[in-house]
Amino acid sequence: MPRIKFSEATLSTPSPASQTPALEHESVVTKFFRATEIDARMLGMIAALLLVWAIFDVWSGIISHDDGLLGGAFLTPRNLWTLLVQTSSIAVMSTGMVLLIVMRQIDLSVGSMLSLIAVGTAVLQVYQLAPALGVGHPAIWVLGVAACLALGTLIGAFNGFLVAYAKIPAFIVTLGGLIAYSGIAFLLAKGETVAPMDQTFEVFGGGIQASWLGPFWSWILAAAACCTIAYAVVNGRRQRIRFNFPLRPVWAEAFLIAIGSFAVLGTTWVMNSYPWPQGVMEDYAKTHNLVIPAGVENRDGSAICMAGEQVVHCLNGLMHYTGFSLPALIAIGVCLGMTFIATRTSFGRYVYATGGNPEAAELAGINTKWLTVKVFALMGFLVGVSSIISSARLNAATNALGQTNELYVIAATVIGGTSLAGGVGTIYGAMIGALVMQSIVSGMSLLNLPAASQNMVVGGVLVLAVYLDQQYRRRLK
């Protein structure tokens, strides 16, 4: 270990407590941020997200009144639930893009890669496995999933190899990939739609009953999450005590646990308030020999057994709620896992250090070439995950499945505060970025605005977000 021995005298008091000199007259806000150590930028992004949501809810409410929080159709359980499902694919990929961009690389090929993986494995499922094993054989979905993940990792590693060892700039390699991979996807699909996917495989899309967790397990999960938050905070405090570092005030720790739990429970409550869509409910009644009682449909047409404004429990079991959907859970899981990788492992540390100064990282003994391959492979793996979600959701694969996804993924990453100069970026930022973008897209389609204007707004928001972020960083200096 350390070769330099410190004489007791020199070591005496490094007095760590004096590291953050508390200013005499600091404002309440500054004090709050210092005490809780909450990232002000994250708060800004969440505020922006909530603002977008509020605008759409009010706006859609003006057009036609609905039962959203602000009188529109946006802040309803149904819309928010769908929003999560729609965001999941882009969100999963954007976590990988964060690491790439942090490392001063980029992957423009993720959209085409997604199409290629989806089509390739769909061909495997539909034309090879299903005839060979019989439709519905459990090995089909297992092999399908494994093939998606493996193929993604492989293509990603191939991209990374060309970048790291053949020393071709990532922009060029993946621009080539963008063009080439969709070409291969087209050839594989012969221009057709490959469908249908295996029944179990469909679970990953969130469109069928089996992919909903249900209120009970959703609450259990939420409770577990709250416990984890509390444990993490307490454990962090214990660590600081162990090394005699300055502690957060107890009220700040309590506040962090409270706000974290509130977010978890609130989200769960919203998810648990979304009833099964009517079609699913009818199927369920049919298979269980239940009579659907005559009721008045809910305004949004999804819940049955409503009379007027009141939920009527006409028959036991005829009011079911979805809870979390599998794709949303996958996205949340990927977010947590990638945050762990980025902040708690040496792999993540190397990615950030390499982005900050590639030469220094190499001189510190990091094998930056192999690291590059690994990060590209991880990106590919995540594209594999997204291809599962996307093709399962559509219950089909086409060579256009991932078209323009790369733009949304990069936009989400950048809106989330990842700097194209490298070295800076967070996973949660990209998740929020993906949510902001999907909110704009689905909000505008809720308002029946044409797709062209959606693109206009998304593009504008991208530029504006980067501008605001740079202003913020400049003021920090």
């Binding site: 070769r3 990282a361 001189l363």
Partner: protein
């Protein structure tokens, strides 16, 4: 080898010829001159034994520029060798070959008398060679502890980064080098030049280095911190670590180094025991390539200097 004979004190003993006047066949170099005898008469003990490091006939060119041209240097345990030369003389390039940053075009490197290959910085670190680069080579976007432990992080039992332990250790090392340093949570881009330099020094000395390369380690430091680095070098030397010290400050070099090597235009002008030469003579070596009596000339020495 006329130049060897000039120095009467060394006449009877085989001499480590540091800068070869003409290319020597590899076969000639295979058997090493009995190193124990080398320092026999010198008052400083450290140069006894097998050299920790020997670099023989190292050459490297960038495009057309021969940045280092058949340079040979060596280093013994507990010895400080000062490396001097004008800007662009090739000092940094030569030691970067040793630290694995550059791949040499020609030449050999021996550690403890055994030839080794250094193809990248990891190879060098595996030999216990630690380097403080002139450019510091810090990752600007992460904090001092992350830089200190970059590439050899402390882990918890679960295999995750133990940031608290790393920060705690960093506080100790940094306190020793720069007692006023407090900004442990900030990315090093926010630190002053001297603070950054302290981080780079801390990183090099914190791990079991056997060979320390210091490329202008005190260029950005204040007088107090410079003195501390001086004391540190003496302590490391006492522990038997070999140190290459590159500096433009002759006083520092004369104060700390046992031997000095002067380079000019990529070639070694000469090598001398610090106490055998004067400041002015060394300046003559640096500026004019003139090798004085007390020094062993290398391939870079101007003819009339011999």
């Amino acid at each position: 080898m006329a130049q060897v004979a000039k120095s009467s004190t060394r006449k009877s003993t085989p001499v480590r010829i540091v800068g070869k006047t003409k290319p020597v066949k590899a076969a000639d170099l295979k058997t090493h001159e009995s190193p124990a005898a080398v320092a026999g008469r010198h008052s400083f003990a450290p140069t006894r034994g097998t050299p920790l490091i020997e670099m023989r006939n190292i050459s490297i060119a960038f495009g057309g520029i021969k940045a280092v041209d058949h340079a040979s240097i060596d280093l013994f345990p507990g010895e400080v060798v000062g490396l001097l030369g004008h800007n662009g003389a090739g000092k940094s390039t030569l030691i970067k070959v040793l630290s694995g940053a550059y791949l040499r075009d020609a030449g050999q490197i021996f550690v403890d008398g055994k030839e080794i290959t250094i193809a990248n910085p990891r190879d060098a670190k595996a030999q216990g060679i630690e380097t403080i680069y002139q450019t510091l080579a810090l990752a600007d976007n992460v904090d001092a502890a992350a830089n200190l432990y970059l590439g050899r992080e402390l882990k918890t039992r679960l295999g995750t980064l133990d940031d608290a332990a790393m920060e705690s250790e960093t506080r100790k090392v940094m306190f020793r080098l720069n007692p006023n340093f407090r900004r442990f949570k900030e990315p090093v881009s926010k630190l002053s030049g001297g603070q950054r330099q302290s981080v780079a020094i801390a990183r090099a000395i914190h791990f079991n280095a056997r060979i320390l390369i210091m490329d202008e380690p005190t260029a950005a430091l204040g007088p107090q911190e410079t003195a501390q680095v001086g004391a540190l070098i003496k302590q490391l030397k006492a522990e038997g670590i070999g140190i290459f010290l590159i500096s433009h400050d002759l006083h520092d070099v004369f104060d700390l180094a046992d031997r000095l090597v002067v380079m000019k235009n990529g070639k070694v002008v000469g090598t001398a025991n610090t106490k055998d030469v004067t400041h002015d003579e060394v300046l003559g070596m640096i500026i004019a390539g003139k090798c004085p009596k007390g020094a062993i000339p290398g391939p870079g020495a101007t003819r009339d200097g011999v």
